[in-house]
Subunit: 337 residues, 2 copies
Amino acid sequence: MDTRKRTILQAVTEDYISSAEPVGSRTLAKKYHWGISPATIRNEMADLEEGGFLEQPHTSSGRIPSDKGYRFYVDELMAKVPVGHKVLERIRFTYQSRIRELEWFIHQTAKLVSDITGYPSIVLAPSWEEGIFSSLRFVEVDENNALLIIRTADGFAQNRTVSVPQELSLVQLNALAQDFSRQFAGISMRDLQNYILDPLFTSLFENAALRQTVLEWLLSEGPDDERMTVAGPLTILNYPEFKDINKVRRVLGFFEQDRAVEQMIQAHPADGVIALIGSEMSVDDIQDCSVVTASYQVGHKVVGRVMVVGPRRMQYAYVMKVLEVVSDELSQALKWA
Amino acid sequence: MDTRKRTILQAVTEDYISSAEPVGSRTLAKKYHWGISPATIRNEMADLEEGGFLEQPHTSSGRIPSDKGYRFYVDELMAKVPVGHKVLERIRFTYQSRIRELEWFIHQTAKLVSDITGYPSIVLAPSWEEGIFSSLRFVEVDENNALLIIRTADGFAQNRTVSVPQELSLVQLNALAQDFSRQFAGISMRDLQNYILDPLFTSLFENAALRQTVLEWLLSEGPDDERMTVAGPLTILNYPEFKDINKVRRVLGFFEQDRAVEQMIQAHPADGVIALIGSEMSVDDIQDCSVVTASYQVGHKVVGRVMVVGPRRMQYAYVMKVLEVVSDELSQALKWA
DNA sequence: ATTAGCACTCTCAATCTGAGAGTGCTAACA
DNA sequence: TGTTAGCACTCTCAGATTGAGAGTGCTAAT
């Protein structure tokens, strides 16, 4: 691929990204003063098409990049863009809160990213099931109710207000909780669920009602089917490729399926910021989309991801840069643990 | 309005509700064996159109009910339908949980209603701002973090994990919290926010960092812009009247605007189960919709609403019955306070 | 009061048309 | 050998036309 082809491919891609219209040779010749005629550009574009980097929607409209073309653009051609000062400030400010709740950070991150990029964003929270159980305890709320606090080894906590069986006092309850914590600390939440049928578990919680409470809690919060937060789903409607109701339905439907998202992520386990372009993704519902995803860490361990979903002609450079910054800041912010 | 006109209006309405196709005289004559000919039906329909109960989309298609027609149908013609046994069981089961969290109930209710009816549903939680402050306290989580629990006079609690200024011990913190609670119990959350600038408040919290924490908490949870939970928004796409992308955008956009929903509700403050049909609503974005809304109570006081949004040709009878049952059960369930 | 008959209106899908945009190819040129 | 001008060709898109189908309103007969 010689320099001129690269230049043309880059021009086609960037033009198409900003206009959503197939790019013709004449347009390019007029816009960029390369000193070559439309005919020459046509020849080059024909070569690029032969090489699989460009496609024609119809026999004689302009060209648009193929997935391979976008891939080449992202990997080789794309210029790095800086993140504006104001945006940077805004990101930093978001993570300065005194609030120490995982869920809150996840929500804020999703909103922030969608707002900055103008695309829908998804944040995948750390898997609760994979979290390591650390301790369990009850705090009195009133006569009948208590706050159940479960902590993981990572320093995250989940809490839930539950009603307490009449016949148990808070003191008894916490004695049980301490036993329980000692017994099961270090085990993953997923395994903990399996222990529910273990004799050890049932012997600790002889009280059936209480056992049911703990069980219900583990099951209701446990399964990772609410790991996902979506922000700005409707921004997808701003892009002309989604004027067809069925495409919209599929993409918005995807945003409601935690499983599909997890599946997609698991198929591309790379760390750092990566772009997944159209057909590179296994999930049918978003074949018309591209996804940029960035991992974030808690203590050197990748625990979740921040993602942006957009049309294939996404502003890759900008989005990737934003996600790089955001995921770093988020990782920093979660270091409280 | 004589009996025959009523019968015809009812038939047109119910046919249109289930088919989404304008109903013609011939169709009616064939389907119902009233012993009158299409021509007679036509005459009657012409009268009904003159009376404003029916309309013709185009000069010569069948008729569809006007908003006035739906109104008459809902108020006078509609037959009561029972809720199936299985559905009833499911509703009851949902509210038997030991979990005692308002937010959880709100979410479950929204999901439940959307699932049962097949329409999008919105649940409006009790206004936090209007809630009466009762007490404030801190529970230790670890060295640096504490759980801040705020309770209202209704017995509801919100909690949030926050980082604690180094220089304050938990004991000091809770001493302050107790002073604070004594001082401000009985004041609405909204007023509490205004007190933030009050000398009394600032004197209690001489520690600036702490004051900021409390303030941040009140502001972040306080404004009622997350009162609303939506479930099943995409079910609206199943109805053929929403095959136009712009209608979809408006309706789905409405679901993201807490303010618009509150505004709509405030314009129709009636208790119990009511239907709002198309143009009866003040909000432009949902002129193509009807809304059925039911209020729920905590201790004889209406605190929130369960709503179903659907096309104008909604299954009014069924939806209204479902909401009646659900809002009753929800009110019962919230009596723990 | 009801009904049969019929002309009329309107929608919808299919077909056709011309303008416009852009291409591929060929032959000429540097 | 690479580049370019010219031209025929292809395809889309919007607008106009057409015929079938559905349903009506009106009139005259029952």
